[in-house]
Symmetry: D2
């Protein structure tokens, strides 16, 4: 495995040249486009790393998995899926369009931004900070790493430039899908700015692969929810390249525009990948290619 990971990192690292850094906030645009790292944690307790793994990066859209888990711990499924759908969209990650054509205001699924805003609005807590602490606590428990925290520079940049998310939040308010625009946005910008490493992502992927049990053996996510989010990861986890990724990699994965990907192979392993240069769909260009080859080589497909 170690040799394989080393080889894959070297093989795919250069693909970063064909990708593009996210540049809507300065912190993302300053990354090294050739950075590439991967960490694997197996159910047998083995751990392998190759490439640029110590680098920290922010969760961005990967956070949508964790807030969905928390919202479903806070409410029954009906209450959540009354406000956000379950269907893949075939639209770009930041599309506002589907809000209007389908049942008025109901986002198609929790992995598009509009849906993730709805999910964030459902997380319980007295204040925004209480709610953030609950998200952080879930993330820390899944990763078995109590050091995980917000990257506050990224948070402030997101907050200052998030016009599209502000637009969507007001739109959702107009339709009565969310209650409070400002606190929802605040939590959303913060959850996106949670900083992690490949190791953290691999641990969290493993936790989902073990149906909610983390590295310390604690059950931190209900078994049913560990399954449910892996389903969304397969159908909608890689923006509008999810279908293609499901075909060529065949494993549940969720990406973020920071270049991170968290993958979870049921009953086998968790994988964390980082490669900040993105393809045109918004997924790590080198990281996605590495994961596809890793899955094919190790026959990891769930199909």
């Amino acid at each position: 495995m170690q040799a394989l990971l080393d080889e894959l990192v070297e093989k795919h690292r250069e693909k970063g040249q064909d990708g593009k850094l996210a540049d809507y906030i300065p912190q993302l645009g300053e990354q090294n486009p050739l950075a590439l790292g991967v960490t694997v944690h197996t159910v047998e307790g083995e751990e392998f790393s190759a490439g640029d793994c110590p680098v920290a990066f922010t969760l961005q859209s990967i956070s949508k998995v964790f807030t969905l888990i928390l919202a479903l711990m806070d409410h029954d499924e009906e209450a959540v899926f009354d406000r956000v759908g379950m269907e893949p969209s075939g639209d770009p990650f930041n599309s506002i369009y589907k809000l209007e054509v389908d049942s008025p205001g109901k986002p198609l699924n929790p992995m598009i931004n509009a849906g993730a805003l709805v999910v964030s609005s459902l997380i319980r807590g007295r204040t925004v900070d209480d709610r953030l602490q609950r998200v952080l606590s879930l993330v820390r428990n899944m990763a078995d790493n109590q050091e995980i925290d917000i990257d506050s520079a990224v948070y402030h940049s997101e907050r200052a430039t998030g016009y599209r998310n502000r637009a969507m939040a007001h739109f959702l308010k107009e339709y009565g899908i969310i209650d409070d625009v400002e606190s929802t946005l605040e939590l959303y910008f913060q959850q996106c700015a949670i900083a992690v490493t490949c190791d953290d992502l691999a641990q969290m992927g493993l936790c989902l692969a073990r149906l909610g049990v983390n590295a310390s053996g604690e059950s931190v996510v209900p078994r049913e929810l560990a399954r449910l989010v892996k389903t969304f990861m397969i159908t909608t986890g890689m923006y509008n390249a999810s279908g293609e990724f499901a075909i060529y990699a065949g494993i549940p994965a969720k990406s973020g525009v920071s270049g991170g990907i968290m993958a979870s192979v049921p009953e086998k392993m968790g994988i964390g990948v980082f490669g900040p240069a993105l393809d045109e769909k918004g997924n790590s260009i080198a990281g996605g290619a590495l994961l596809k080859e890793l899955s094919q080589t190790l026959d990891l497909s769930i199909f």
Copy 2:
């Protein structure tokens, strides 16, 4: 297992009252809405049936799985996926809309009608009948049943009323995605009218579950393609309820408006279901519910 199937048939049969028979052709509208049958074939060679299993019905959209396999045996993946996408759509099965907004004329995936027409146009053969015989041959081999054939009354009805499919075929021709409108439609109407039973569907589902090996032990579908179509079955197999079905059943399945569903549990079993009353998304209302409970009871989810 037998007791479980008997119980599930009795429990879910009445849901047919809340559904609606497809009525665009007379043959579908004349079914008994309370009919419900299920057959399971396991990798261990066991077979179980409950309810109305001897009833024959037509494949309809389930045929899209088989033509996709054949098109990918006839052409390399690039040639096929240049003309039809891989992404789930979140749109109704009969939407023409996505043809125009995305890259001009390219249907989003092979499981929507427009995409299935493209796929049918790619199947090799000198005449329409040659091509149909190749589809029939694949279906017969997968089901290990050489008796399978066209229901010619259904075929003629489809042909007489298929205005929407005719519209889409002309649209695809306009964009240069297909070559010959009439032969494509002819093959498409015929493939939809292939008549099968729950037993056939279960055998075909098992063949996919065994990565292409049928009940007689022959490898009739390439291993990679057996995987690929199960991926499409998860992301797009149940029309625009695919996401919901993936969450609550967690197994690859493909439905048709005749009320049939073919499900395939990797390395475990194939399942054939028939219940002609449909829910508003076009899936068997009782059959879908039965499958969800069967999967949950036996813990069949691939996630």
Copy 3:
């Protein structure tokens, strides 16, 4: 003429029962649905009124005509129409959809809300209040009534509930179409809350009919702009019933959800109508019917 107006008011007043008051802010919902008034000012200097004319109401969307004039006085046409299109939309007045499908972020025309926000953002002035005073000044000059002012209760209500407009403004900011979200919204909510009477609307319609010359004989709108806005009034002035209104009335008109309509018959007359009960497209149900019959009776169609 007086007899005709009296007759038309009595004939159409009851249609208010089939309409619906706008109810997104309390001030609009409290109107008398059977109120109906009409005032006509002719180029010959005659003036006729019938029904409930002393009632004051707010301009709402009618204000879009005046801000467009002002933006085109402040910038050359290219600068304005680079940011907002000229084409009718066939979509409801409050649609956000067209923002995304056409050239990114550019609203189709200045009479839909998104386009009107762009227009408001282009009005010159050091502060929001400066800019508002310039709008008020134009409106007062066109109506030849220096008493016209903001209804501040309506303004505050609009401001408190305008989530959809906030959504659109953030969306426009995301695309770089407008610069400052808050000042744009502030001006927009204020311009919508300018209070007028049927008499004012008739004077303003007359001013446009006389190619920019008001009742005192002053030229307050450039001749070309008086023409240009009448064109928009024909193609897009009555929301997505503009086509129908053009066919049956044949005169440039602009309506607002307060129930006001300003009509301008080139070289002949200005007409102000008020009837707060709206049809499903958002136009005064009784007012629209009255205008159609008035136009047909007097043969006012420009076609």
Copy 4:
């Protein structure tokens, strides 16, 4: 006037270099892109021509005006506007999209292809040829030229390549908006292939300008319908550049992809223009520019 027309032809002729000939059928692609002609017939009986006026070309979309008149002579307005809307679309002339999102299957207006197909299906006659003769008869009467006839090479080419129109006709059949697909298409392809000259277009424009009275003094179009079609010409006559043309020319006009434009200035004149090189919206690039300048110079705007 003669000098003005001569000057405008010379001034705008070269714009043809920046345009593109329609090339979906060979006959249109073989035109001279620098051809430009204009003919004016005034209500006073004067006639002026400049440039390439003897050239014959086909009506294409201009025919939609005449079939709409005939359908409204054959049926009352409600029967027609139940099946096709009155609203401008803001979409390209060949969009199929609006069919699905609005009320199912009802095209937005009679000037888009889908709407024109509906209109053609409503024209009375025992056979397709009877119906065509009635269209020809109206066109000949309006132009006061009994020689007008079909260009049968163009008709056969249209028929052989009209996949998009076939697609739309089948779609309309699916929704029950039209009855017979083949006869509707047949008539449609034929009406598009009616061959005329600038002189014919100017005569027909004059007939509409005189509220239905042709050059011989006969009333060949009901007064109300002459008005109604001019309204559609303003709101939707120049494809999705109609809004812009209304602003800069301000006169009712209808264009076709052959490069013809028929304009009608109420109570003043009819204008026929021909310039086969098209802009990106599908209108004659030189012809449109010539008409705008002609209207501005002579102050022809109806606004």
